[in-house]
Amino acid sequence: MSDLLAARSQMGVSLAFHIIFAVVGIGMPALMVIAEYRWHRSGDAVYLELAKRWAKGTAILFAVGAVSGTVISFELGLLWPEFMRQAGAIIGMPFSLEGFAFFTEAIFLGVYLYGWERISPRAHIAAGTMVALSGALSGIFVVIANAWMNTPRGFALVGGRFTNIDPIRAMMTPAAFPQTLHMTLAAYAATGFAVAGIHAFMLLRDPRNAFHRRALAVALMVGAPAALVQPVSGDISARYVAGQQPAKLAAMEAHFVTARGAPLVVGGVPSVTERRTKYAIEIPHGLSLLAFHEWNAEVKGLDRFPRDVWPNVAAVHLAFDVMVGLGTFLAVLSAVILISGWRKRDLATHRWLLTAIAIASPMGFVCIEAGWAVTELGRQPWVIYGILRTKDAVTPMPGLIVPFISFTVLYIFLGVIVAYLLYQQVLRSPRGDDAVPERARAA
């Protein structure tokens, strides 16, 4: 394994690991605050119990997120010193702002988790709201920094050096809006469905359980609307990629040959040597419609680009199809859930719907991983799109396979432990017969 590949793999593993916890840090505070708010409004003690139990799980996940995020901030320099040397002054701004947002999140999470007995209920819910807001904001800032790598702006390139730097213009880069919108919605959809799935699974075994019923309702309230509108934000993202990063779009869609009225290629096995995708389903005019909203629009294929700037077509196309496929499933499921909720159906007695929600539990997170694979692998061979190649940014340090394997082992180990601890938390959740008297007491 070359040092470059080891560095890319280590960065990939670190990001793939951290993103799960970062997303939970955005989504869970919203769920907890809603549960706590409902407790205030209804006096139903089950909601308080719910907020407290969710808070326990969140504490574990947030801590792992905080330390794995620290690793990434160092890795930017440890693995890509040349990138940071050139770009630090341009994209440091969103990272600095993220630093403050994350600070605020960590402070108020401490207050929220440990302050139940120490501050007034009103202050407590305000602390939770601060966590939810600053969590969302810190995610947005980090994604803005990534957006700049896709559409670098706010400088003049003179003799290969960045001059006339404008960090504000850099932050307003064209990719910023579609990427932050798509990611923020994804965070709510993934967290909402992950949590809803767990409680749906428990309800399949214990349908009258008041604790899980309320948990399911709150989780879906966050997850379903986000998943429902996500395809719209996906469309905005796709059209921006078509305009700004046509080579990435061509790889996503396994679109080898430039064409008018280009078909949409679903699935299949892209063959780079034959420059076509075998065994795929082709929807006529589909790609032109999706990318440009026009029946006969010309879509640039990979043939318009020199071979050495192609991303890994098979990986990007597969990841894209996984994201869109599972995302579509979540959007349709959300529509069904919202319609039955609107018609005041009792979700907890719909066995097939509960089963579908339970199956959907990991899908949001799989979509997020796949989506980041699309945007990161799709940007290759560039670290700064069109300007700096990843291979020119890597550290001169040899033997990078050692830290790569060490971090991978560490993260697998931590992942197993976290999964086990969360599983134990779920096992300890109240049984139907425990939760009902509590509710009666509160009433």
Binding site: K56, A59, I60, F62, A63, V64, A66, V67, S68, T70, V71, S73, F74, L76, G77, L78, P81, E82, M84, R85, Q86, A87, G88, A89, I90, G92, M93, F95, S96, L97, G99, F100, F102, F103, T104, A106, I107, F108, G110, V111, L113, Y114, G115, W116, R118, I119, I165, D166, P167, I168, T395, P396, M397, P403, S406, L410, L414, I417, L421, Q424
Partner: protein, 341 residues
Amino acid sequence: MLTSAVIIAGIIMLSLNAYVLLAGADFGGGVWDFLATGPRRQAQRDLISHALAPIWEANHVWLILVIVLLFTCFPLAFSTFAIALHIPLTLMLFGIVLRGSAFVFRSYGSDENATQERWGRVFAIASIVTPVLLGMCVGAIATGNIDPAIFTSDFGGSFADQFIAPWLTTFGLGVGLLALALFSFLAAVYLTIEAEGTELQEDFRARALWAAAAVFVIAFGVLGLSMREAPMVRRALTGGPFALPFHIVTGIAALTAIWALVTRRFRLARVAAAAQVTFILWGWAVAQFPYILPPSLTIDATAAPQRTLTLTLWGLAVGACVLFPSLYYLFRVFKMGGQRG
């Protein structure tokens, strides 16, 4: 000259100072967890865990702020430092990840004693190793061994010359141990206040005094090693214009801390201990001024373009307006008055 670059370098040092005083003490807590002994062993561990739980994550963010400001405003110094110190920084990150994870796994994990014990060990050992590595990185900067020229292809040093020699020195190791001793000292002093009104207070008072003795011995050792290995530090600490006042104020703070501990004036001891650590840290900063990464990278010459610096200063001003009230609130809720929940 007080340029924006110098002001930001000062703010980076202030953030590092906050990290050392706050998160440093959290690492020190792990040291005392490791060394918990006597009949109140479990009670000591519980107190440490209770003191850390609500605040350690917020304390940890100071380090992220240091790194982010460094790469935004001093990108060349940041990347050079990240190349040269790849190995100790990576090991330090391992320590940071394991310490934080083990701490929450212990707090929220199973109630089985064996599992708790195991995570407690991981937490404690990571708390000991991480400060040593952090100190070694600081030591490597202070020796002036990190020359950016070493990474140009025509320099042609061996792997050991490039990636190990800059940080693996006796002086570096000394600074690592000094960091460990200072963090343990801070933690023990702070814990005397956390333990107010219990028998544990005397336990931590004794520990604070032992740690003060360790700091004293190691600090003189490091001073001695600097004579041989860190000429820049030596010059500043022996002949520089700030040498004498620096030694006097640090000495006063150290003696005040010890006297306050002996006479059980714990709140005064906390202030004096924090002052002592702060003076040592700024002694290093002043010694290497105007370099951000000696021997060749100065603060002014390697800073980011002015526009970035100006915007960062504005960002810091706005951020501080949110940060300081929030921090005040956090510490008021958990660290001032009121009985333990």
